[in-house]
């Protein structure tokens, strides 16, 4: 079943009925294969102001406004077991990037007299803060200010539409760029570089490495961050958005560096040359990613 709850407490209330429990398989969009059923307290119009609920606008989604009787709830839970083939539009609206674009289109269609415009603008900013912190703050704050002044600043929205995929990709890569920018992670790479240099210069022997306890345990964390970034990028691509070709190149390069470092982790007495090369490649790739992200930020700030 594919169930959505406007608030976690609704799931808990359903537990009390005994009709629903945690053992039931909940499908995760966009790959869900059962009919999506939403349970909520707000009106559908209000829910649609929140970008994450964009799928509610599709005919295949079912909305159940509470309170409902036990029998009605049972009927809807049965409905949520029906098989369902997600449409292209459903897949697009299942990822934050698609939800953002859909919400912006809705706001662009609002007129000055529309009473929903302030709530929609506030929801847009909240949603952007949650998924792409720091990227759209100025643009959406300007939008909210314009709504207060009985206008709708649409130029900024067009800019967001143009940069949204790039920003989503940059955000997806953040766990990796942290390995250059976050001291707690970057230090691991720096220390390894120093150690390799000392070994190359003959200051440390292989024996010394083991005695001083040099480990590459942090490689596991880098692998986890790599997987998280890769998964996030694949999710964007899988929902029909076109990523810059450089993204795949970066992933290949980092994956290759990780593989080479893994060999060193298994055997600290192995040759340091491939490890040195892996570290150099890793740093260069991460720097490229950061440079590309900073250029994107500059362009967005200029509203190019």
């Amino acid at each position: 079943m594919t169930l959505f709850f406007e608030h976690e407490s609704i799931r808990r209330a359903l537990h009390a009925t005994g009709l629903f429990n945690d053992q039931l398989q909940i499908d995760e969009p966009p790959s869900s294969t059962t009919r999506p059923v939403f349970f909520g307290w707000s009106s559908k119009d209000v829910l649609l102001q929140q970008p994450q609920n964009a799928r509610l606008s599709l005919p295949e989604s079912v909305y159940v406004r509470l309170p409902q009787s036990l029998k009605t709830v049972q009927d809807y839970l049965d409905l949520s077991l029906q098989s369902f083939v997600p449409t292209e539009q459903y897949r697009v609206l299942s990822v934050p990037l698609g939800q953002l674009q859909s919400a912006i289109s809705r706001v662009q269609e609002l007129t000055i007299s529309d009473s929903n415009r302030l709530a929609s603008a506030l929801e847009l900013r909240r949603f952007a803060r949650e998924h792409w912190p720091g990227w759209y703050e100025e643009i959406f704050t300007e939008l909210i200010r314009s709504v207060h002044n009985d206008q709708i600043a649409t130029h900024g929205l067009k800019v967001v539409m143009g940069y949204a995929t790039g920003v989503a990709a940059s955000t997806a890569l953040r766990p990796l760029t942290d390995w250059r920018e976050l001291r707690s992670k970057a230090d691991f790479i720096g220390i390894l570089e120093d150690v390799i240099a000392y070994v190359e210069q003959g200051v440390f022997s292989d024996q010394d490495l083991q005695e001083i306890g040099v480990t590459l345990d942090w490689l596991g964390q880098l692998e986890t961050d790599f997987s998280a970034s890769e998964l996030a990028l694949r999710e964007i691509e899988g929902s029909g958005f076109q990523l810059e070709t450089s993204c795949n190149g970066w992933l290949t390069s980092i994956s290759d560096s990780i593989k080479r470092l893994r060999v060193l982790r298994m055997d600290l007495t192995s040759s340091m040359r491939p490890a040195q090369e892996a570290i150099t490649t890793l740093k260069l790739t991460l720097d490229e990613m950061i440079e590309s992200r900073d250029q994107l930020k500059d362009s967005l700030a200029r509203r190019d």
């Binding site: 609704i10 209330a13 009390a16 307290w41 707000s42 309170p67 009787s69 036990l70 803060r129 703050e137």
Partner: protein, 237 residues
């Protein structure tokens, strides 16, 4: 948990420092040397004072990963400052609150040892209330009486469900018992509702509409209460 308050005149913002001090609030006088921030979980800042005294207390607190709450007599001044800080510190735990909520928010955070209480999410509280009340109706449908299904640990170590009836002798729901029902977050409905109805403006309907004698009627009244509570929560900035 300890919270630092940065305000020249807390009384003017309806913050009773004397009441909150014994449970963990430290009031700081702007302009004087700041205490060590590492001893606090959160900092509550009057944005106008921060600007006047040119003490970047919000930035300093964010850099220490503390939760920062901003307020101002004019709410938009706090939200503007919040937007400014978010551009500089995208990952900051930052929020703006309304002045009339400050006292209750700080108190709830200190008493529950939960810094997230500093920002009162009205809509979330309303949803928690409505879902809890709905669960009472669902139990009523399945049993002769309205009640709360609670899982209790039996002597055998197994869990079983128990229904506690909420009917009075006159066969209608009892507000006193309903108020004692606990939400999924283990908060009494009475506590949640008193925070809502203690505010002005308040919702135009209260729980008394639910004091009925059949579950059909109960659902109908719950729908009316839903409209009233949601309209109130959604109207807040």
């Amino acid at each position: 948990m300890k919270i630092l308050l940065y305000d020249q005149d807390p009384d003017r913002h309806k913050i009773n420092v004397e009441e909150l001090k014994p449970i963990g609030l430290t009031a700081h006088t702007p302009g004087e040397e700041l205490p060590e921030l590492k001893y606090f979980s959160a900092v509550v800042i009057h944005t106008t004072d921060e600007k006047t005294y040119r003490q970047p207390v919000a930035s300093m607190a964010i850099q220490r990963n503390l939760q920062v709450v901003l307020y101002s007599g004019e709410y938009s001044l706090a939200t503007e400052r919040e937007a400014e800080l978010r551009t500089l510190y995208p990952r900051a735990q930052l929020s703006s609150v309304l002045v009339p909520d400050l006292q209750n928010n700080i108190k709830a955070a200190l008493l529950n040892n939960d810094a997230s209480e500093l920002t009162w999410n009205r809509l979330s509280d309303v949803q928690e209330i409505l879902s809890t009340l709905w669960a009472v109706g669902l139990v009523w449908e399945n049993h002769p009486q309205p009640g709360v299904s609670q899982k209790t640990d039996t002597a055998s170590g197994r869990w079983r469900s128990e229904i506690h009836s909420l009917l009075t002798q006159s066969e209608t729901l009892s507000w006193r018992d309903l108020g004692n029902v606990r939400t999924p977050k283990d908060r009494a409905l009475r506590d949640l509702s008193s925070r809502i109805y203690g505010r002005s403006p308040r919702p135009d309907k209260d729980f008394k509409v639910l004091l009925v004698s059949t579950h059909e009627e109960y659902y109908d009244k719950l729908s009316q209460l839903r409209e009233s509570l949601l309209a109130w929560a959604q109207a807040a900035p």
